[in-house]
């Protein structure tokens, strides 16, 4: 179904983090931009018409941040009016203009409490028309109101339903789903204030990656399971024993119903989902990237024709594309 395409080489190797690949595509310009976290900065690589045209690094800036402030995640948040590059680190969250050139906003984390094990921001998503949400290691989710232009970003509220570190956030229109280190999943409705709709209790293992598909929430877990829950009731519909290790990243192409999952077991697998009356799930493609602990996976285009995969210590993004149909 898919086959290895030309890899995109990046200037610095990918760090071992979950969801360590973000992609921004522009169909008109035939350009794709990739963001990969390397220790204390994000490597941004732009590929236009098949050629690497621009590479740069964006690192943590701002008060209290220094050059060794480890980055935990980077993601482009696409809002109707503007696209913002959000970087979370051990110091807090930073928002940049799309190309990473200008910093728009900087939110430092509060001082860590005594005896904590770690202190960081992680979990990023654009929600609805004007919100960007960022999770923290204390379980909080900061909701930022983003103006159509300019730097007047406002911290609107902090959601405190989660009690342990946030792993990932994802949105579908005005709905947001958040996951934490104990596998709890909460579905939120945005609006004047965010309201909790459904809470799905975890089993103690992190839900490191999450996707929306129609009226379903799909979680990728540390135990190698992919679980599909109903977004209407929170009930578990499907449980796939998908990988032999930690699932580090997932992404969905809603148009094609394809879900890609990457794991530390070195396998990338693609799943076909359908949800006509009851949901079904089927593995349609798999490949091992030999000796690579995968840490990121992302579809490059909305139609699910190709996806990129990153791995710890790897200086390239491996691209898989749909094979041309033989005439």
């Amino acid at each position: 179904m898919f086959a290895r395409d030309t890899s995109v080489s990046v200037k610095a190797s990918a760090s071992s983090l979950c969801n360590n690949l973000t992609v921004l595509s522009s169909k008109e310009k035939e350009s794709t931009t990739y963001g990969v976290v390397h220790k204390a900065f994000v490597c941004i690589t732009n590929v236009t018409k098949g050629a690497v045209v621009n590479q740069k690094q964006v690192s943590c800036k701002g008060e209290g941040a220094h050059s060794s402030s480890s980055v935990l995640q980077a993601k482009w948040c696409e809002l109707p009016e503007r696209t913002v590059l959000v970087i979370t680190s051990v110091k807090g969250a930073q928002m940049f203009e799309t190309d990473g050139s200008i910093m728009i906003f900087w939110q430092a984390l509060a001082e860590s409490k005594e005896g904590v094990y770690s202190h960081f921001a992680r979990g990023i998503s654009a929600v609805g028309d004007k919100y960007i949400c960022v999770g923290t290691s204390e379980g909080g989710i900061m909701v930022f109101d983003i103006p159509p232009r300019g730097t007047a970003v406002k911290l609107q509220e902090t959601l405190t339903s989660h009690k342990v570190a946030i792993c990932e956030l994802e949105a579908q229109g005005g709905r947001m789903v958040s996951t934490d280190e104990e596998g709890n999943i909460i579905l939120w409705q945005s609006g004047g204030h965010f309201t909790e709709i459904i809470k799905i209790d975890g089993k103690g293992f992190p839900c490191s990656s999450v996707c929306f598909y129609k009226d379903f929430i799909i979680g990728g877990f540390a135990t190698g399971h992919i679980r599909v829950f109903s977004a209407a009731t929170g009930a578990l519909c499907i449980e796939a024993c998908a990988h032999g290790r930690w699932i580090s990243a997932m992404d969905i192409s809603v148009d094609s119903g394809l879900l890609v999952s990457a794991s530390e077991d070195s396998f990338v697998r693609v799943w076909k989902l359908s949800a006509d009356d009851s949901p079904t799930m089927e593995m349609v493609f798999q490949q091992a990237i030999i000796d690579a602990q995968l840490c990121g996976a992302r579809f490059v285009d909305l139609s699910g024709n190709s996806f990129g995969v990153t791995g710890y210590d790897m200086g390239e993004i491996i691209i898989f594309s749909k094979q041309q149909a033989i005439p």
Binding site: S70, E181, I238
Partner: protein
């Protein structure tokens, strides 16, 4: 990222160092009494109660440079002396061994079991000295208190922090290459088959649930791997069964261990330029953590405090098979990376204050390349 990574990093690297020294002391036929003294002195310094208490406080991980300095000092805490080529080799072996162990952990909490394997071995190195044994047992307690209750998610952040410390290190080690656990490019071989982590399932099935939450149907897919369930989890108790072998002594069988730096001679101009750029970048993002300085000073103080031995009882340990090889390696490293060579000079005999004594063992070559990265060593000069 994790503020609890430093003790794990230090204890495991220290454990690997002791394995190698133990093996070299025997290979070089150092008299038993001297060899035992070296092991005891180093274990005693490593596990100094005050130093351990400082180490276990939540803090950022040291930079690579600071960590290397700590181990340079630790290796010289006794009557044994290593020249720079041997010290480089020792440190490369230690770090690659621990990187291998962290990389191969099935689940993040296995890094604690790896640490316990090292601790168990260190305890046996020091079993004939009650005072040092006590210090070691004290650290078992600290480890249990700090880590036994952590969740999978917290261990994952620790493991990610460790992997970030080892990122881009691809030194090839002969023992790994021979055992086919490392590839020629320096990457470790990850087995696709074998046991899955404890409390997980073998991949290959998809279960469907009905409205009552019961499994209504199960479908299967072929993974192409031969997986099996884990037998049992390892124990974090003082005398528990660790189950996993990672972190146990791999030098018990007598065989030589070589390191080969991963960038062999024929490098094209373009890639070497890229490598240089990468290195420069690496160093800027590797600023020493100011907190580490304080602890380095503490360690320096502790190491210095113990060094009141007579110079004539000192001996030199060689990590290579012959002295010629060592010299060759030394000249090679001088050529390849003059900026990172720290000459350890054991000939000075001044016996003044303890820190002054230590400083005599550390002088830096290639002062032209001395930049802000050397702050830690400057600190020693000012003391």
């Amino acid at each position: 990222m994790s503020l609890r990574t430093l003790p794990i990093l230090f204890l495991n690297l220290g454990g690997e160092m002791l394995y190698i020294l133990d093996q070299r002391l025997r290979a070089q036929s150092i008299p038993d009494e001297k060899a035992r003294k070296v092991m005891h002195d180093i274990v005693g310094t490593m596990f100094n109660k005050r130093f351990m208490e400082e180490l276990f406080k939540p803090q950022d991980t040291y930079s690579k440079k600071a960590m290397r300095t700590v181990f340079d000092r630790l290796a010289h805490a006794s009557i044994m002396r290593l020249n720079s080529a041997s010290m480089d080799k020792l440190y490369d072996l230690m770090t690659m061994a621990f990187k291998y162990q962290v990389s191969l952990c099935l689940r993040p909490s296995d890094v604690l079991l790896v640490t316990y394997n090292h601790m168990d071995a260190i305890r046996s190195f020091a079993c004939d000295n009650p005072a040092i044994s006590n210090q070691v047992e004290n650290v078992y307690k600290l480890l249990y208190e700090a880590y036994a209750g952590l969740t999978a998610g917290q261990f994952q952040v620790i493991r990610q922090t460790l992997l970030s410390f080892f990122q881009d290190m691809h030194i090839r080690v002969s023992i790994f290459l021979k055992d086919k656990v490392q590839n020629a490019n320096g990457k470790f071989v990850l087995a696709a088959d074998g046991a899955v982590p404890w409390s997980t399932e073998v991949p290959g099935s998809i279960r469907y649930f009905n409205a009552e939450g019961q499994v209504s149907r199960t479908s299967h897919f072929v993974t192409g791997c031969r997986h099996q369930l884990a037998d049992k989890p390892g124990s974090f108790e003082l005398l528990g069964d660790r189950v996993i072998k990672l972190g146990s002594n791999m030098y018990t069988a007598a065989r030589a261990v070589e390191t080969v730096t991963s960038t062999p001679a024929p490098v094209t101009a373009a890639t070497s330029a890229a490598a240089k750029a990468k290195k420069a970048l690496e160093e800027t993002s590797d600023n020493p953590n100011p907190l580490a300085k304080a602890e380095l000073n503490l360690l320096a103080h502790l190491v210095g405090g113990g060094s009141s031995k007579k110079p004539e009882s000192q001996f030199r340990l060689n990590l290579f098979n012959t002295d010629e090889e060592e010299e060759q390696a030394a000249t090679q490293t001088h050529k390849e990376a003059p900026h990172r060579v720290i000459k350890i000079d054991a000939t000075k005999k001044a016996q003044r204050e303890e820190l002054a004594n230590l400083m005599n063992e550390f002088s830096i070559e290639g002062s032209g390349d001395r930049e802000k990265g050397d702050e830690l060593l400057d600190l020693m000069d000012q003391a």
